[in-house]
């Protein structure tokens, strides 16, 4: 199965499970569906979630965990039965990834926390002379957090070139567009000034994603920042760039239309 098929299945699962559970954060999950698809289908070296030498992955924007659960299901780590418990009582599958769920390295949900844990994991790999890499997916809104920049400085100072950060740069956050809330212009220049290796890519273009992620030089002496330009709600036209879909669940009509738009026969 190629990464495009992965992405289609991830989007289907996001829509199906969020409809069944009647919960939101759909737009945020759809925004990262392609990034998650490429990472889990082609990039991450995880022979099993228990392998201590596995690459680590931190979904720092924990509110998009449904995309991660979809990838776990496609990897065979999560059964359909358990996937169907998303947001149900007595489930391991909450809106944010819970520690203890197979495949989750770090529980997240508190924005600005993921990068420092990932930097610790990257430092650990370096100290142990391990070749494993640590990948982090952050939202652009997380860049509002001071702790994010603490970790940015640390990673560059300690030359954590086994650390790869992907920013889901959809330009939107909980209450509006990032440019209106707290401006994030000139991000490449900012990260370069902080000593990172920076690339800006289309976060929905699989060949660009795969090229950038597979081309990471983990011995370059610099941590890696991939600024992935994305669209909130990508794939469902009425959700795209619409802040409501950071929160809202779908009606029956909206669900049918969404499935049709991502190419699922109802």
């Amino acid at each position: 199965m190629n990464s495009t098929d992965w992405a289609k299945k991830i989007r289907h699962i996001i829509l199906e499970q969020s409809k069944r559970a009647h919960v939101g954060h759909i737009g945020s999950a759809l925004s990262i569906a392609d990034i998650i698809a490429v990472l889990y289908s082609h990039i991450l070296n995880i022979p099993s979630p228990e392998d201590s030498e596995r690459d680590r992955f931190v979904l720092s924007k924990g509110h998009a965990a449904l995309a991660l659960y979809a990838a776990f299901h496609l990897k065979g780590w999560l059964t359909q039965e358990e996937l169907n418990t998303y947001c149900a009582d007595d489930s391991r599958l909450g809106v944010h990834p819970e520690y203890g769920l197979r495949g989750v390295d770090f529980a997240t949900g508190s924005l600005g926390h993921g990068l420092s844990m990932a930097a610790g994991a990257a430092l650990a790999a370096k100290l142990k002379k391990s070749s494993r890499c640590v990948y982090v997916l952050v939202s652009d809104a997380e860049l509002n957090e001071g702790s994010f920049w603490e970790a940015v400085m640390f990673a560059a100072h300690h030359q954590l070139s086994n650390l790869v950060v992907v920013i889901d740069d959809n330009g939107q956050q909980a209450l509006g567009f990032t440019r209106e809330v707290l401006d994030l212009t000139a991000l490449p220049e900012r990260f370069k000034a902080f000593g990172w290796q920076v690339q800006t890519i289309d976060g929905h273009n699989h060949s660009e994603l795969e090229g950038a992620l597979s081309g990471i030089d983990s011995l370059s002496g610099k941590p890696h920042m991939l600024i992935a330009k994305t669209t909130l709600g990508k794939g469902v036209s009425y959700m795209e760039r619409t802040i409501k879909w950071h929160y809202w669940p779908m009606s029956d009509e909206e669900y049918s239309l969404a499935l049709k738009e991502i190419g699922i026969e109802v």
Binding site: S52, Y99, S110, H113, S116, A118, A121, L123, V134, F154
Partner: protein
Amino acid sequence: MRGVVIGTLTELAEQDPRIVLLTADLGYCVLEQFADRVPGQFFNVGVSEQNMLGLATGLAESGFIPFVYSIVNFAALRPYEFIRNGPVLHQLPVRILAIGGGFEYGHAGPTHHGLEDIGVMRVQPGLTVIAPADAQQAKSALKASYHLPGPVYFRLGKDDKTVLPGLEGKFDLGKAQEIRKGNDLLMVTMGSIAPSALEAINTLSEKGISCGLMVVSCLSPAPKDDLVEILARYPLVLTVEAHYIVGGVGSLVSEIIAEEGISCKVFRCGVRSTPNGITGSEKFLNDVNGLSSEKLVATALQALGSF
């Protein structure tokens, strides 16, 4: 305590490469021994306490035993949520070395006073909370908690020399140390204010009052059995702590008394007011807040009189 603990930690780190020490740019004339002897296991992460706790979480997940070091407030309060969602939530062996509880940074002012750290740490399930009364007990506590798979919070005093007579460096997880027995009144204390309580007890004894002294150095898991057994023997208890009266050892004792239906009256000696802008030495501030031995004696006599 801090010098002795770092000395012991250095010896442990020389034998155990899993130990790493992170500081948020503090520890002058304290951490050098570790940095010099095991430089590959030492990291000054800069003035970034949140990141320090996040890094420690990531390191611990990969099999390290990270110790993080800073002044009490900067170790406990600034990164509090990173402690909660990091080592506590993931049950990872991060050790927090929080230096200078109470008014130990006297003249430095309220930004540097640690008056609520035990309260906020004690509420976190699975977090072992330790406030040794002297350096030898701190050393024992470090060794006794070394094997724990979960996180540990240490409130460590700056003073390496003071010895609390009768304690003899004893420490056990989930246990308290009764270092003086009596009949009329029991003082229960924690941390480096303990010598003040002992001095007050000596004065009271000279006045013919039979006083006991219990040191609660392991706040969580609480030494419940010891507290139940010993509190039941006394009609009157004074809790003594360089901490707000809410959340610390006074609260712990009150919880046990209420839950177990123990018949004894509690007077909580600790900090009751918010900072008022007046600075001074640790000794001065302890006295202002009723924690000097003289003030404790006065409170005890008043409590006995009203009883």
